[in-house]
């Protein structure tokens, strides 16, 4: 339920005009940030459960991931529908010419696939393959972070620009990956 809060706020802001003078850009930025945060939160559930034995937190992994996929889809909709009015030829050119959009789109494809197969039916049908398939979430997370880093104005290599938010996100993802290295992971369980 809390996951719907950003969407409600966004809708309310849009209706009251508080998205500012460039509402398309604000909506794109907002949905993108929520998607990143929700995805990282989803990936934090398992380690938290392991360390602090909080099964209730552990169970949030799936809904948080699903909402991350929802916000990623809204983020793309803000770009393709609101901004570009579904002019497919122009959108296609943008995607081809701008690597960061391509990375984001790849992440969205993965997240959508995982959301579509998140039902119990697919878990039963795919069995072991389901778990392997859903490991793709890590690939999606890497793509999302790269997409975020490349979307910032400035120069990544000399770190001149507003890189603090995407770098914090990168740091968190790195930490989450470290916690999943098998020896570290075993330590967590003890």
């Amino acid at each position: 339920m809390i996951s719907l809060l950003p969407l409600s706020i966004l809708t309310w802001l849009a209706l009251t005009g508080w998205l500012g003078f460039n509402p398309v850009e604000t909506a794109q930025r907002w949905t993108g940030r929520v998607a990143v945060i929700w995805l990282l939160l989803s990936l934090t559930c398992t380690p938290l459960n392991k360390i602090f034995k909080l099964p209730r937190i552990g169970r949030l992994r799936k809904p948080l991931g699903l909402y991350a996929a929802l916000y990623a889809a809204l983020h793309f909709a803000a770009f393709a529908v609101w901004d570009y009015g579904l002019q497919l030829d122009t959108i296609w050119l943008e995607i081809l010419n701008k690597p960061f959009i391509l990375l984001g789109l790849a992440a969205l494809v993965i997240l959508s696939l995982l959301a579509a197969t998140s039902f119990r039916y697919w878990l039963r049908k795919l069995g072991k393959k389901w778990f392997r398939l859903h490991r793709l979430v890590y690939a999606a997370a890497v793509l999302v972070i790269l997409h975020y880093l490349l979307s910032v104005k400035g120069d990544l290599f000399s770190l001149r620009g507003n890189y603090l938010p995407p770098l914090i996100a990168s740091g968190i993802l790195l930490l989450l990956f470290i916690l999943r290295i098998p020896p570290v992971n075993r330590l967590l369980g003890e």
Partner: protein, 318 residues
Amino acid sequence: MNNKKYHSVPIQPGEVTPKNIYNSRRQFLKQMGVVGMGALLASCAPQGFSDNTLPEEIPSDFGTDELGNSLTSYQAIAGYCNFYEFTTNKDNVDELAQDFVTDPWSVEVGGLVDNPQTFSLDDILETFDQQERIYRMRCVEGWSMVIPWVGFPLKQLLAAVQPTADARYVAFQSALVPDQMDGANSGMFPFPYLEGLRLDEAMHDLTILATGIYDEPLLPQNGAPIRLVVPWKYGFKSIKSIVRIALVPDQPPTLWNTIAPQEYGFYANVNPSVDHPRWSQATERRIGETGRIDTLLMNGYAEEVMPLYEGMDLTIDF
């Protein structure tokens, strides 16, 4: 190359509007209950911005640019802009910049000139006739506005200081006052903000130093008290709150070109066929309108400024 070469542009009918006409229109629009912004914003503007730092709205229906584009509302111009010394958030520059001290102000003009001078703002307003120019402003981020500037051609100021024969470029520097500028301390950008033009670009009649918008003095967020406006280039070339202008022999360093030369060329001419890795340069979002419109070569000033770039490959020198 002939540095003095430029093409004058006739002032369009309706470019100079007396303030009483603004005011009568303001009355009219208030009665009509119309706000010159998109429907989305129109519904909320009166309450939404009442407690904000935005100025009272000035109706924008008194004229258009020479292509028939209606003007962007004063609230949008004052409420949405980039001024990274204050913040990277375009929506709250107005709040963070409101205490910026712009009086007294002086602009030092020197370098390769016979008659270096330091002008106070009053000197500038007295010496140079202020005219109104309606220009399109295209940000490299893919949004644009139509702005009624008040200002004067830069060439008049340059004539006053008499550039020497060795002067080939003009370098500009913004004010840097860290205790009044929150964003200046982030370390993320190598301030002070620097910009530059080739001398013939600086001498072009379209290039102005602006001191006002909508017949009002510039607000801090818009580059008070004096800024450059080069309408055929991306907005970041139009440096704000200028404290120093120098005539120099070589191409001067500029902030965005220094940070990411592969993305921001020195020339930074608006060009729909030179793409940017993040934003579409083929189309743009006009603030206050919905949907995208085509971006024009040289922002629609190609006829006037293309002679400046004869023989140059604009996809290389972008």
